[in-house]
């Protein structure tokens, strides 16, 4: 879907940090993306290879860590991971309350990069 736009943004941020740190080559980039995102890892890498080919980030490997969807119970504050595409209705495993809020699963974050 909008992988191209997101990938361009990843490259912009990486190049900014590369310049600030006098980097000659970026080897890998660690990303943290929430499981709720529909981005396809394979396409993000393909777009990245295309966009970055004439830069210091050419051939860098994107390492995407998917953060699970985690809910927190509003009543007892217990937090628990959920498989959002399977479960039809869920409740807190501790106190059985159905009022829970999502505390993780929507991330779009660049953690760090390996470079020389």
């Amino acid at each position: 879907m909008h992988e191209l736009q997101v990938t361009q943004r990843i490259l912009d941020i990486v190049l900014k940090h590369a310049q600030a740190n006098n980097v000659t080559r970026v080897l890998s980039i660690q990303l943290r993306i929430g499981e709720l995102s529909d981005l396809e890892d394979e396409w993000v890498q393909k777009y990245f290879d295309y966009l970055s080919k004439d830069s210091v980030a050419a051939n860098a490997k994107l390492k995407i860590e998917r953060t699970p969807v985690v809910m927190q119970c509003d009543a007892c504050e217990h937090s628990f991971p959920v498989n959002i595409k399977e479960i039809k209705a869920f409740q807190c495993p501790e106190c059985e309350s159905k009022k829970c809020s999502m505390i993780s699963g929507r991330e779009y974050y660049i953690k760090d990069m390996e470079a020389i």
């Binding site: 909008h2 943004r9 990843i10 941020i13 080897l27 779009y108």
Partner: protein
């Protein structure tokens, strides 16, 4: 041998969009204009709901519409024909509206003359969910013919919205859409969501939705 260094980046990929969204929110708060981000699949009834809502509320509040389409003007023409201030955004192939596009749309409107702006997003349940456009409320439509399993397929959209309008309820008796099961799925993803059941065709339920919206707009416009 060159040394491999680990460089901390710690940046949100969406930060540029979020910064523009924040400035839109500030601008709208100054102008006292309420902004709705209306999202749904193609054919769920976004334009019809806008037309019905405009017809009901135009005597009480001043309404503008930003129509986003990949490459057509059809919706903006329909809305303008009914007397709403309409601006067309062509997204040029983009699958969603982002904050910078809305910023451009707002530059072509007179915010001082408007209490409410409805942004009709591109018909899509995936991408628009990821982009903050500076809206006051995110509203989505799910229409009965699409099926009651959509919260399982597009959980992000259902989890980020403040309001779900279930449209085309006049089709309920012809389908196996289980509205109670759908309601339970949506509420477990998003306990705070408000749900309205409507039919733009028969008019059923439209008033309850429009009254809620009017209440939100008036409280936004009159609060210091």
């Amino acid at each position: 041998m060159e040394e491999i260094r680990l460089i901390e980046v710690k940046e949100d990929i969406m930060s540029d969009n979020d910064a523009v969204a924040k400035s839109i929110r500030h601008r709208l708060a100054e102008a006292k204009t309420f902004l709705i981000n209306l999202m749904a699949s193609p054919g769920a009834g976004k334009t019809s709901l806008i037309l019905k809502t405009h017809a009901l509320l135009k005597k009480d509040i001043r309404i503008g519409v930003i129509e986003a389409d990949i490459d057509s003007m059809v919706d903006a023409e329909k809305v303008a024909a009914q007397g709403a201030a309409a601006v067309q955004l062509k997204t040029g192939g983009f699958c969603h509206v982002d904050a910078a596009m809305v910023q451009k749309g707002l530059n072509n409107m007179n915010l001082g003359d408007l209490d409410l702006i409805i942004v009709e997003n591109v018909g899509n349940l995936v991408c628009p969910a990821e982009f903050d456009i500076g809206e006051s409320k995110k509203v989505m439509i799910l229409s009965v013919p699409e099926g009651d399993d959509k919260p399982l397929k597009y959980p992000l959209m259902f989890s980020v919205c403040d309001v779900l309008v279930v449209n085309k309820i006049d089709y309920l008796h012809m389908s196996d859409f289980d509205i109670e099961a759908m309601r339970e799925r949506v509420l477990s993803l998003n306990p705070g969501i408000k749900i309205f059941e409507v039919s733009s065709k028969t008019g059923e339920g439209i008033e309850a939705w429009a009254n809620w919206l009017k209440g939100e707009v008036i409280s936004f416009v009159t609060t210091d």
